[in-house]
């Protein structure tokens, strides 16, 4: 990673944004390299057949970041994707042979060159785009309630970059969409609409000034946060930060999305309140990725468990029930 500190391309092949702060990044990387080495050592002490089974120790380890070499196997284990695969009556290669629906093939193919056109691993790289097609088409084939939803292409692309393994990416996509996340990607996106209301509720409870300001300017949350839910922060935050977030989503579930979102909002309170009109507010959200507290993904991942306060699974469940009823009455 060291040689990429000043590169215009990040360690995962993405072009850095035009206004990327190389100094802040270099300073952080100087620190982060030591953390990565230390974490790799700590992870190598995990031993035995059950080393990746769920435990408070593993959860703590995951919050501090899964080393790149372990990432694919830890995600598969802790998310339940591995179990899904073992329990499945069909296997992935048989499933791929069944992809025949022409309209589905067409819509996925349109999006292939439109996914990460700035990433050197994807532009003109038939291997990765071919794998992306296989994963998306196989997934859509076996889940007709979701089929293909725009946004899944970005998630699949990120899974392929992290795991470098097509089949692992398929099972991880399946476990994310079908078990971990609410119904974000289904044809009426009901889970997304509910969680947008839940977010609004949580922001109001976290900081009423920010909540008032966003409503005064009249920005629908969906405008800037749809990518938070649908793409799990892909291209919203720096790639390393995104993978650190995903480490926790695979272990702890969708409430991590709210933790991250609320932390982003709270860390930018001054900037948000300074905006006077919609265009400034949107720019403020877009610029969040360049904030030094967010480039420092290690510190950011500590913040997300402190800044938003307590959010339990049952709090979230109750809020979702509340807003699901409200949606039905609209």
């Amino acid at each position: 990673m060291a040689q990429t500190m000043y590169s215009k391309i990040d360690e995962y092949g993405f072009e850095r944004p035009a206004n990327f702060d190389y100094e802040v990044h270099a300073e952080f990387m100087g620190k982060y390299m030591h953390i990565l080495v230390r974490r790799a050592q700590r992870w190598s002490t995990l031993k035995g057949k059950n080393k990746f089974t769920r435990s408070s120790k593993l959860k703590r380890f995951i919050r501090k970041g899964i080393p790149l070499d372990f990432r694919a196997s830890v995600w598969l284990q802790v998310s339940g994707a591995q179990k899904l695969k073992e329990d499945s009556v069909w296997n992935y290669s048989d499933l791929k042979k069944k992809i025949t629906n022409p309209s589905l093939i067409d819509i996925i193919k349109i999006d292939l060159p439109r996914t990460f056109p700035d990433n050197i691993n994807f532009i003109g790289q038939e291997q990765l785009t071919g794998q992306m097609f296989n994963v998306l088409a196989a997934f859509a084939h076996q889940n007709s309630e979701v089929g293909y939803c725009q946004g899944l292409n970005y998630i699949t692309g990120m899974l392929l970059l992290a795991t470098r393994n097509e089949e692992a990416s398929f099972w991880l996509l399946k476990v994310l969409v079908e078990k971990i996340l609410p119904k974000y990607s289904v044809t009426n996106m009901s889970g997304l609409l509910i969680d947008l209301d839940v977010l609004d509720d949580l922001v109001r409870k976290l900081d009423v000034d920010i909540h008032k300001h966003i409503h005064k300017i009249g920005m629908p949350w969906a405008m800037v946060t749809t990518k938070w839910f649908i793409c799990l922060f892909t291209e919203v935050l720096p790639t390393e930060t995104v993978f650190r977030i995903w480490d926790c989503i695979f272990y702890e579930g969708s409430k991590i999305i709210f933790r991250v979102g609320l932390t982003l909002i709270k860390l930018h309170k001054a900037e948000i309140l300074r905006t006077k009109e919609l265009s400034e507010l949107i720019t403020c959200f877009k610029e969040m990725r360049n904030h030094k507290d967010i480039i420092d993904c290690h510190q950011f991942m500590i913040h997300i468990f402190q800044i938003p306060g307590r959010i339990t699974d049952s709090d979230l469940k109750n809020l979702r029930t509340k807003y699901s009823k409200a949606q039905n009455q609209r």
Binding site: T115, P117, N188, M189, L192, L193, A222, M223
Partner: protein, 226 residues
Amino acid sequence: MEHTEPHSTEPEMANRQGAAQRPNGAQGKICQFKLVLLGESAVGKSSLVLRFVKGQFHEYQESTIGAAFLTQTVCLDDTTVKFEIWDTAGQERYHSLAPMYYRGAQAAIVVYDITNQDTFGRAKTWVKELQRQASPTIVIALAGNKQDLANKRMVEYEEAQTYAEENGLLFMETSAKTALNVNDIFLAIAKKLPKYDQNQGQSGQGQGRRLAEGDQGAKTPGNCCK
């Protein structure tokens, strides 16, 4: 049909026109309008905006998730028209989010791809929805995009034109790639929008917000009246 320069990379078309028509110091109205882009996935909504606002074109434009927001200013006689452009996601399932984007819009561009008949059908559905749900005074333009691919045309010009006339829509075939009619369609909308001088203060529906002179977008690079 009027053609703009193909392959134009000059972003500030407003500057050119504005400089000619509004010498520095001239008094004029400044109106701000909300414009929303709707249409099926991959018809070129984001590309039209990118061409209009930045004078650029990307062969592979990333699909829009959620909505994008950009502003651009055009000058018409003594009036500066600032468009607040809301660019939306096209895939059908994102439809449930659309009402929060077109709410309060004074203008809409409904886009289809001239090489794909289904996208024209979908455009008609959008027009119907806008006529039913959006502001009654909304100005709607229909854009048949990808005119540079006319050799693969599946939607006839006359068919779309007749439909547009029957429904009171502005209509142009456009190409975000060659810049054909991109500025023109926004200008045509600007011309059609009511630009009242709002001394009464209260903003009427479907009417541009009059901005105080000092309020004009110093942040907007395309602002023509600086």
